[in-house]
């Protein structure tokens, strides 16, 4: 059994059905890519996995280590070991990155983390992400550039050490240096801690730096094709059109 299993997931928002029967299984230590054009339902899946209240699961279930978390509160999913790196991280004025991280780490601990231990981990994570101390004393995402926001997402991921991370369009809006740094961070967490990842993207760019073992292609709310890393190159050459043939039911 995989750590994260998604069975026949149907999801709707107020006005329409977006996911129409998604099946996916991800285990710790595995890197998966979820690709697909804009509007195919990738971000909906990411938000639904973490329990966004704006998305309603009408059918199917999400299991995390065998436990049904389909209706669980987002914080319980996070504490169990799921993480979402947001496409558009919101800012929280008045709260420093470091203070926020300490609160988040303490949320899943019995005893609050010691100042020394926290400082050490923060330095380590900041080094991996190439951010300086001043960065962690700034208010969370407040006035951050696009690249800084994404680095901050990965910094949080590095501190919270989830079992499985969902990275929602983390590559969008990143210059090449930032993209490389973010990818390095993900690779390091994958290599050192055996983190599993679901990398959502509609470009191939980030996948030049992070090699997924599994590639899933989503169209119109369903996963229509799956394969290995070779699929990335095929998509780069041929686009998504070949997947839209009537035989896939997505005409």
């Amino acid at each position: 059994m995989a750590d994260l299993e998604i069975h026949n997931l149907h999801v709707r928002t107020e006005d329409r059905e977006i996911l129409r029967g998604v099946d996916l299984a991800i285990s710790k230590g595995e890197v998966h890519a979820l690709m697909g054009p804009n509007g195919s339902g990738k971000s909906t899946l990411a938000n639904t996995l973490l329990g966004h209240p704006g998305y309603e699961v009408t059918e199917g279930q999400i299991l995390f280590r065998g436990e049904d978390i389909t209706q669980a509160d987002p914080e319980n999913r996070a504490q169990a070991g799921l993480f979402l790196a947001f496409q558009y991280p919101v800012s929280i004025p008045g709260v420093s990155v470091a203070n926020f991280l300490r609160m988040a780490m303490n949320a899943k601990r019995e005893e609050p983390i010691g100042i020394k231990e926290f400082g050490g981990e923060l330095r380590h994570a900041a080094d991996i992400l190439h951010v300086d101390r001043e960065f962690t004393s700034r208010h969370l995402n407040d006035g951050f550039s696009g690249g800084e926001k994404k680095r901050c997402e990965i910094l949080q991921m590095a501190m919270l050490k989830p079992d499985i991370s969902v990275l929602d369009e983390t590559d969008s809006g990143l210059d090449i240096d930032a993209l490389r740094t973010v990818a390095e961070g993900v690779n390091k967490l994958h290599g050192e801690l055996g983190m599993g990842a679901l990398i959502i993207t509609h470009y191939q760019r980030i996948l030049h730096y992070i090699t997924p073992a599994f590639v899933h292609i989503m169209l119109d709310g369903r996963i229509v094709h799956e394969g290995g890393p070779e699929l990335v190159e095929q998509l780069e050459r041929e686009g998504y059109d070949w997947l839209r043939s009537p035989s896939n039911g997505n005409g």
């Binding site: 996070a78 008045g94 926020f100 949080q156 919270l160």
Partner: protein
């Protein structure tokens, strides 16, 4: 002296803005303190309990106050510091402390080294006797007694009071602390603080207005005046927390900033049954610079009516005002912020921002910035936001493991934090954070229900 009667009778026309700046007026004109008292008494006896009404259905009425049921409470001069004050001020080092309980000053202390250098901290009653010339030069020179019954009452009946004098070029590291405490229902407290700082003085001052939780009515009617000389520096904070009793606070605070001087003034309003305050901040000489930062957080059925004035009396002055408020339950808060730049005050530059956050559908917040600019070649503008707790922020924090309740707390505390840190005073910052946190905890269920319903 001209009078401006702003209280109107029921059914009378309502103006879009309710209050007017003192704009240079003051009662002190060479009359003695006693003469001013008798003149004020006359106004008091002829005045009714006021009600202030503004279009948009805002009314601040004092008519539920049973003034006859209140009396001044006197205490011995060595009665000691009441517990409510001791808890708030802590035991950090200070330059001096003066505490008024009810009608009496019950504790007064001053660092002897500062006394040697000519610093004075004593009851205003004593200062009238011991430093008559100094007091006469400033006392009520920029405060009036004839705008409403409470202002008249304060001028007629003030007792105890505080007087702080910082002589020329005296720099004081530790803060001066003043406290006005009401410790039982039925108390009326008429307070008057006079602060005079000469050229080159540099000091910090905090005033605490405190009451424990009790049942029943009480009144604090206060006057505060601070005159900052040339090339001086002052950091001033007011910390108001009148508890959950029915404490009414009707006060006027005036601060004058002299040539090339700077003053940061941070009032913190954390509780009171009904508060109506006029806070006027004047840059009175070229080069004067003021920074006004304020916080209010109303809860329960509290009613808060704040009027601030950023008054530029001459040119080449600068100001910057930022207020942040939040309201829970069915509390009411009104913030009227006026920038006034008088004729001939060219090259004045100022900005006013007012932010408010609604934490309950039953709460009401009015924020009304306004401008009166009587000259050209100035920059003056205002802005503001009215916010609610944002669901996207809550979800973001939940995905990091925080509960909804914790997330809301982080958002509201974070909203106030940029002002709190400007106190630059760790014990006071800690006190403000603790009180904000306690208020959020008390209102947590309602705030959560409101956020979830949206």
């Amino acid at each position: 002296m001209a009078t401006a009667e702003r209280s109107t009778k029921r059914g009378a026309a309502r103006a879009a803005t309710l209050y007017q700046a003192l704009d240079g007026r003051g009662a002190g004109d060479g009359r003695s303190v006693d003469e001013l008292r008798s003149a004020a008494l006359e106004v008091y006896e002829g005045a009714e309990l006021p009600a202030w009404r503004r279009s948009g259905f805002w009314t601040t009425s004092l008519r539920d106050l049973d003034l006859d049921g209140l009396s001044p409470r006197s205490h011995a001069p060595d009665a000691g510091i009441p517990p409510i004050v001791a808890e708030a001020i802590g035991d950090e080092p200070r330059a001096g402390l003066l505490v008024q309980r009810g009608a009496s000053v019950v504790h007064s202390e001053l660092d002897p080294a500062l006394a040697q250098r000519g610093v004075v901290l004593c009851a205003l009653e004593e200062a009238v006797r011991d430093y008559p010339d100094l007091v006469a030069r400033y006392f009520m020179s920029r405060l009036t007694y004839d705008r409403d019954k409470f202002e008249a009452a304060t001028a007629a009946f003030w007792s105890g009071g505080a007087f702080l004098y910082v002589p020329r070029n005296v720099v004081v590291e530790q803060p001066f602390q003043l406290a006005y405490a009401i410790d039982e229902a039925g108390t009326v407290q008429y307070a008057h603080t006079l602060v005079v700082a000469e050229e080159g003085a540099d000091f910090r001052l905090r005033e605490y207005d405190l009451a424990p939780d009790f049942e029943g009515q009480a009144l604090h009617a206060g006057a505060f005046e601070l005159y900052l000389g040339d090339n001086a520096r002052c950091r001033l904070a007011h910390f108001q927390d009148w508890g959950t009793g029915q404490v009414y606070d009707v006060s006027t605070h005036f601060v004058r900033v002299g040539r090339d001087s700077h003053c940061t003034w941070i009032p913190i309003h954390l509780g009171g049954h009904l508060t109506r305050q006029h806070l006027e901040f004047s840059t009175a000489e070229p080069g004067a610079d003021m920074r006004h930062r304020g916080i209010y957080f109303t809860e329960g059925d509290e009613h808060l009516d704040l009027f601030t004035v950023d008054l530029h009396e001459v040119g080449h002055t600068t100001g910057d005002t930022v207020w942040k408020g939040a309201a829970t339950a069915k509390s009411r808060a009104s913030y009227e912020g006026l920038i006034k730049i008088v004729a001939d005050a060219q090259e004045s530059h100022t900005y006013l921002q007012t932010h408010s956050m609604m934490l309950s559908p039953r709460a009401k917040v009015d924020a009304i910035p306004s401008l009166i600019v009587e000259t050209d070649s100035v920059s003056a503008s205002h802005g503001g936001t009215v916010g609610e707790v944002d669901e996207a922020q809550i979800f973001y924090m939940q995905t990091r493991g925080l509960s909804r309740e914790e997330a809301v707390k982080v958002i509201v505390e974070g909203y106030f934090e940029p002002i709190v840190v400007q106190l630059e005073d760790e014990p006071l910052e800690a006190l403000v954070r603790e009180r904000i946190s306690a208020k959020l905890a008390a209102a947590a269920d309602e705030i959560e229900a409101y956020a979830a319903a949206k």
